[in-house]
Amino acid sequence: MTVQVREHQKTPLWRNGTVLKWTAQIIVLIGVVALFVTLASTAFGNFERSDITFGWTWLSNPTGVQIREGIDVLPDSGAKAILVGIVNTLRVAISGIFVATILGTLIGVARLSSNWILNKMATVYIEIIRNIPLLVQIFFWAALGRGLPDLTVDDVGVYWFKASSRGFGLSWIFPAGGFWPWLIFVIVGIVAARYVAKRRMAHQEETGQPGHGGWFGLLTVLVFAAVGWFAWPILAFMEPILDAISDFILNIPPVLVPVTIAAIAVVSAGLWIRNFFDSRRTPAGFGKMTDDDWFRVIFAGLSGLVVAALAFVIGGFAIQTVGGETLTVAELLLKAFSNFFGWLAGSFSPDSVDGRLNSVRTGGPLVFERPEVILRGTAQLPQFGQTGMVITIPFFALWTGVTLYTASFIAEIVRGGVLAVPKGQTEASQAVGFTRSQYLRLIILPQAFRIILPPLGNQYLNLAKNTSLGLAVAYADIVAVGFTILNQTGQSLPVVLIWMAFFLTMSLTISAIVNHYNRKMMLVER
């Protein structure tokens, strides 16, 4: 029997799914680009009419901005001030993420515990912290900190720990002269430790006896660190080498910078496309590419070319530096790299040049310092001195606020992740004889981690973005510093653009790291 095709004619264009799909893609792309161009030109047109000129010269101009805390409290330029703000924000974000993860995991596990008291304590913590707005909590910690006793003349002296309304003085370990050469010893030690740990694991697999790979690895690192503590001056020969690299970079023709970046962009786009084609290749032959696949290939190729073109355009921008020179971005980049190597070379010299490090923190590669209360200035006001770690009240309030807040959410995520592992996994593990700690480590946590990871990444993003609430307690993060600059110069648009670019970069970096682990942990299913 033959099947009768009722209508057999060429499909008209407006009914052809492929054509419609492609048209839609292109229209959307053109629409988005057109929207942005219109918005930008309207905005700049309005700015011009209202005599506001936006520019970037404030980045290199000297500012009178005074910053309450950070790597440089009297920055000589707008760019430096922004950098201080960025470092302050990153300090809160990175240490906050680190501590919130540990604290949240512990509380989450405590909430799963069959220990009644532990369980209820964790529940109370979570319910209190996550149900009060973060801003209120930050104000609470700030009020608590400011309510501490003020420093008085009687307080002058050296302490292990000192809490006051001016902040907390902590004893801390700092890098000192010889830190970088010593770090090289430690890094070599870590590489060696990985090898040792691997050998111990192989031993365990061969004999079945516990290999204690972790302990042996730790021991190796400690040995290298101890040797390096005394031996670091022998790396002084690195100084001329690094100096030579620094000089060499300065002599590279600036045009090579955009050329290199463009080449990297084009090559990585090409590699991506090649990998993409490879991924569509099955043992049976080349798989059929869908329209979406082709669109992705074209988009990847185009973006490679756009980045390459942008590298030349941006690399050619001339910028006036603080010193009064006019350099292109490419030249500036080379100079930055050259300076970095020059600075590294200096730190390899046995008589390290960093004045502050030498005057205050001499000794080995690391130095242990205790906080000190001194009388400063003509008014002889009691203040914390240069030594030790001083946590200011704004930092304390913001850090404690975001960390405890995020930890309560992470605790719930961890609890949910562990509960989401089927009960049968625990039973099967018990049935084959694993002890509790064994099956938690080998069976339950690896599976829970897969479930936890994506929402955990969201919490990291929230924490990083919530640091902008530091403005409320006058913490000198990038938002507060930017606000000061904005008020002084009136350059609202560029400052907002820098804020956006910074938070976008930070968030995307966090996402990329989390996604990388997420892909690595995916379960193989049919």
């Binding site: 697999e205 061969e206 516990p210 049968g424 018990q430 694993f434 299913e525």
Partner: protein, 255 residues
């Protein structure tokens, strides 16, 4: 009885699992109301009964996945109490196969089989893998060794689960409805493996609804209802001449 010839060839040994007046409650629901039974070495005991009759709870008490509240359970000379060390010792000698397989989805088939021998029995990896591959061959799935459980069919997964238990070289195997989650065509491949295991002299306690398996392989059938053993006996007694009304009713409904 020709069907039961294979079973009768096995020579039963000393008692290895002894349960005496075992009672267990879940809240105010009494799951076990005094179960007394003894299983001897190399014996195959099939436990049947309606759902909710306590048969699963009973064999889960044997390796203390559930803790019984009254009575005594002695497995291979070790009494099961709150003593964690004793519980671990018993668990490393008693294998268990679950209705839902419960394979570890993040590990390959071979790792599923060899992980416990390496960590619990402290066997060298090479030795554990050799033994594990041998078991997978016995189960008829050596070519699946490097795949993940999610890539296998239900019948294959259950055979991996059996191999995982056998890798610990257990003295007793517990089966908790091993074929209830399988497609009909896969039930046979799992039952065949279990029959082979019974022939090799393994002590087995099997909760199942497969009456064919019970009549061919079992030395003894226990019929559970309301948390007690209502009737027990050889398969021929059980299927041809049941004494209790409850047993008769149950058999008439399922056969």
């Amino acid at each position: 009885m020709t069907e039961n010839e294979q079973a009768s060839e096995r020579v039963l040994g000393d008692p290895i699992v002894i349960t005496d007046d075992v009672k267990k409650w879940f809240g105010d629901f009494q799951a076990l109301s005094g179960v007394t039974a003894t299983v001897r070495e190399r014996e195959v005991v099939v436990i049947i009964g309606p759902s909710g009759s306590g048969k699963s709870t009973y064999i889960r008490c044997i390796n203390r996945l559930e803790a019984h509240q009254e009575g005594t359970i002695i497995v291979d000379g070790i009494e099961l109490t709150n003593d964690i060390k004793n519980v671990e010792k018993v668990r490393s000698e008693v294998g268990m196969v679950f209705q839902q397989f419960n394979l570890f989805p993040h590990l390959t088939v071979l790792d599923n089989v060899t992980l416990a021998p390496q960590w619990v029995r402290k066997e060298p990896k090479a030795e554990a893998e050799e033994f594990g591959m041998g078991l997978l061959e016995q189960m008829g799935i050596p070519e699946q060794a490097l795949k993940y459980p999610g890539q296998l069919s239900g019948g294959q997964q259950q055979r991996v689960a059996i191999a995982r238990s056998l890798a610990m070289k257990p003295k007793i195997m517990l089966f908790d409805e091993p074929t209830s989650a399988l497609d009909p065509e896969m039930i046979k491949e799992v039952l065949d493996v279990m029959k082979e295991l019974a022939l090799s002299g393994m002590t087995m306690m099997v909760v199942t609804h497969e009456m064919g398996f019970a009549s061919q392989v079992a030395d003894r059938v226990l019929f559970f209802d309301y948390g007690i053993i209502v009737e027990e006996g050889t398969p021929e007694h059980f299927f041809t001449n049941p004494q209790h009304d409850r047993t008769k009713l149950f058999l008439s409904q399922i056969l």
